[in-house]
Subunit: 209 residues, 2 copies
Amino acid sequence: MDKKGLLIVISGPSGAGKGTICKELIKQEELWVSVSATTRSPRKGEEDGVNYYFLNKEDFKQKIKEDDFLEYAEVYGNYYGTPKSKVLEKVHNGNNVILEIDIQGALKVKEKYPEGIFVFVLPPSMEELKKRIINRGSETEESFMTRFKSAYREINYVSKYNYAVVNDTVEDAVTKIRNIISAENCRVDRIKESILESKEEFIHEQFYD
Amino acid sequence: MDKKGLLIVISGPSGAGKGTICKELIKQEELWVSVSATTRSPRKGEEDGVNYYFLNKEDFKQKIKEDDFLEYAEVYGNYYGTPKSKVLEKVHNGNNVILEIDIQGALKVKEKYPEGIFVFVLPPSMEELKKRIINRGSETEESFMTRFKSAYREINYVSKYNYAVVNDTVEDAVTKIRNIISAENCRVDRIKESILESKEEFIHEQFYD
């Protein structure tokens, strides 16, 4: 049975805690972590293929032309992107791949790969989101309001996702995502062919061999 | 947050083991078991509202007219059916309801309540299905072939379901169904409104009160 793996996209507003959840998730589940490509220079200790795939601008632009990104963006003059062929190769070989990404990126990935599992991580409450944004160092009322409003607006995008997981505790959120992975492996859309195939094989053996 | 419960429909071919799975599932999960209505007479020890709702034919037919069955069928002159109002009342009050039913019945339930979760229980293998059908007392080759062919044909209906769970071991199958329930509780389609509402409430408190 040639079963494809799952592409699990963990996304949500800044301050929802998706990074912490992903770190814990990869300890508990066998997941291949998607590595981004970037044109920025490696920092001390960063390894090519581990932290990022480091590309020069020419190569990055060539890959854009070849439609080899699930999504990409330019940030302060540097490009960042999710390499399509690397991710889909893993998925087609039956590996589950995890991709942690912001909302804009996730929506682009969904356009290219709608069969992915899109999980929106929500802060436990708006009150808690407010606290987290303050703790991350929004010194002025103005900078806090900008970031809070942005997170607030971003929550509307939840309707584009398949699942929403409230990050009450990391442990619970991780369990819920693991249950989502388990359930998705039982979805008829994903396994129908292999069920019907194995049925045909049996009948063939029984009655025709 | 007025969250509806789930209607979980456990179905599959005869011999797949759905009965055993349901018995174990209700030990582990808080589920309200759907009780069928019937026009057949109660047997010794059977209680109205526990084993069945016992109705006379007139009342049963009246309920058919009132569209008060999620599905019903006539078997050897008696009617059997799943009472719609009783099930949906529980669901609307936030209870998860479980309904164990054959494939024909499940497909009718799906027409009336497509937001149900339709789980198809598969035998571990066709070989094992064959054994189980033999063990259930198909004495002649002919009666075995009739039952096996019917189960074989029924497996094609898997494509009408949301999930398929292979009954390798009861324990694993029950865990998978519990994970499906957990995942469905995170599905954006089901919880979108409550997420957006709680966001609005917070903003209202923060900025307008």
